[in-house]
């Protein structure tokens, strides 16, 4: 069974926020929603001060509290471990936002259902669903999907997920420091598994929440 996951080597992050912008561009997320921010903070005092970076995104948890809390069934976990938000089904209760320890869900303010900015489907007639992920519904919650549309596109077209740029999350593709690695956590030979094995396993954020995230970290400050 495939379980898509991401390893982030925080020690390699240079804080350029390219992932943040690449995600925004790829997903055309609502104005106030950042699916992949990079947290930064100072530590210590001059002259022994350092600036730390921590890229974050949806953790695509195995025991996802957002899915548990969602009353409408808008949030679901696919068989490959990706937690998806169906904005057409979302009622905007925001229960998921209070349940998620990572702040990974984003409420699109205002009322009414509209198709908003994003490349029009007719621009790519051969793949009319290619840009469906860029359509957001006001009053609903949206989130990072590990660029599931790219993964699905890659699988349908025989591209290697996590390696080919068209089959890999935008934040991973764009990272100049190569601090993000994407692949199948259940495959011991995958790039993510090999990277974790080489670093003695990964850590997770908010371990107290016991959500079993698929986004894991090495080199955490």
């Amino acid at each position: 069974m495939t379980r898509w996951g991401m390893v982030i080597d925080a020690a390699r992050c240079v804080g350029c926020q390219a992932c943040t912008v690449a995600c925004k561009t790829e997903n055309q997320s609502p104005l106030d929603a950042w699916y992949a921010p990079v947290i930064e903070w100072e530590e210590g005092e001059f002259p022994d001060a350092t600036l730390n970076y921590l890229p974050v995104l949806c953790n695509h948890c195995e025991d996802a509290p957002c899915v548990t809390a969602c009353p409408s069934g808008a949030l679901t976990r696919r068989d490959d471990g990706i937690v998806m938000a169906n904005e057409d089904v979302c009622i905007g209760s925001r229960a998921c936002m209070t349940a998620c320890p990572y702040g990974a869900l984003h409420f699109f303010e205002d009322r009414g259902t509209v198709a908003v900015e994003g490349a029009p489907a007719e621009a790519v007639p051969s793949v009319p669903e290619r840009y469906a992920h860029q359509r957001h519904v006001r009053g609903a919650v949206s989130k990072c999907t590990y660029c599931a549309h790219k993964i699905d596109f890659g699988l349908e077209n025989g591209l290697e997920v996590g390696v080919h740029p068209l089959a890999t999350p935008a934040c991973v593709v764009t990272c100049p420091a190569e601090c993000r690695i994407f692949g199948d956590l259940d495959d011991p030979d995958s790039n993510v598994s090999q990277y974790l094995a080489g670093h003695g396993g990964g850590e997770v954020l908010r371990p107290d929440a016991k959500t079993l995230p698929s986004t894991q970290y090495v080199g955490l400050p």
Binding site: I39, E43, P71, G73, T98, S190, R206
Partner: protein, 335 residues
């Protein structure tokens, strides 16, 4: 580590809510606020008044509206208005029916079903008594609206069970996820349940006084016990896991920060301790008029206190930082 400070969008003064995501700080939840507090309060009172009226045997004799006992009318109105506020607060109110879908895991779905079941069953129960223009168009329905026969009793029991869920589920919604440590405690639904019960008994006693019926010593003892239990639940919750990241910030805000006065005086003093003292005093006072006055004062204190309890619980819902530097979590096994 000697110091940790934010470099993006943090600092004193109003924060840009959207920049919270870029900070390694505890984040205050901002998605549920006063509308939810009103909804939680009304649901608690609505479900509780229905039950309290029956437990205290006060559905009859306290006045009627269109042939329906005043106690039940208050109950229906509270739940209907609370439900309407909930629906209006949704991001997509016209899709509200979807709240009934995920009964497998979502407490909100349980709440939606319990609200609906309560309104339908309690509504059916009293329907034969409905009087419109001097006639009782539904009097031919085959059950006793007072629960005196099998059909009526069944409706009453189902509505009563639904009312208990209505009183409790708001707390369970908050308590289940581990994201916000202040909420993640069985003490939260317990507080909501006890607060709902206390408010409801007080409201029923207020209706009793308005109807000119004397409040009994037994009723005051019941109110005193409920408010005393609520006081204990609040204190136990405050004393548990005080150093846990997130909860520490919640307690700071509640006991030393911006909500100190509202919590100490609005919730703790006048919303729990004072009503408990007054209720027990009312139980021992020999003069019926004085007891009635104390019951009214208890109601006037308890209902706002219950509202403040819920509002402050929401407002001190704080997520700890997603990562605490220099504190390693358990390492996941390498594949």
């Amino acid at each position: 580590m000697t110091a940790v400070s934010s470099t993006a969008g943090g600092g004193a003064g109003p924060q840009n809510v959207f920049m919270d995501q870029f900070n390694l700080e505890a984040r205050t939840q901002r998605v549920w606020d006063i509308n939810h507090a009103i909804w939680f309060t009304l649901m608690g009172v609505g479900g509780g008044v229905f039950l309290a009226g029956r437990i205290l045997n006060l559905t009859e004799g306290l006045g009627y509206v269109l042939g329906i006992p005043t106690v039940d009318v208050v109950s229906f109105l509270a739940i209907a208005v609370g439900g309407a506020i909930l629906v209006a607060d949704l991001g997509r109110p016209l899709q509200a029916w979807r709240a009934f879908v995920n009964v497998r895991t979502s407490w909100i779905s349980w709440g939606a079903w319990s609200d609906l079941i309560f309104l339908v069953m309690a509504g059916l129960l009293v329907l034969p008594a409905l009087s419109l223009g001097g006639s009782e168009p539904f009097s031919g329905l085959g059950w006793d609206p007072h629960g005196g026969d099998g059909g009526g009793l069944a409706l009453e029991i189902i509505a009563g069970v639904a009312a208990v869920v209505v009183m409790t589920y708001a707390g369970a919604v908050l308590a289940r996820p581990r994201a916000i440590p202040y909420w993640n405690s069985p003490a939260v639904p317990l507080q909501f349940l006890l607060s709902s019960a206390a408010m409801s008994v007080a409201v029923v006693m207020l209706i009793e006084v308005i109807a000119g019926e004397p409040v009994t010593a037994g009723q005051m003892v019941l109110l005193g016990l409920l408010t005393a239990a609520l006081t204990v639940a609040v204190v136990v919750h405050l004393l548990a896991r005080t150093d846990a990241p997130g909860k520490k910030e919640s307690l700071d805000r509640l006991l030393r920060g911006q909500y100190r006065s509202m919590f100490v005086w609005g919730v703790f003093a006048s919303g729990t301790v004072a009503p408990a003292v007054l209720a027990f005093a009312g139980a021992v006072v020999g003069v019926s008029g004085a007891r009635d006055a104390l019951a009214v004062i208890c109601c006037v204190l308890l209902v706002p206190g219950g509202f403040w309890l819920r509002l402050l619980t929401l407002r001190v819902g704080i997520f700890p930082p997603v990562h605490i530097p220099s504190v390693s979590g358990p390492r996941m096994a390498a594949p």
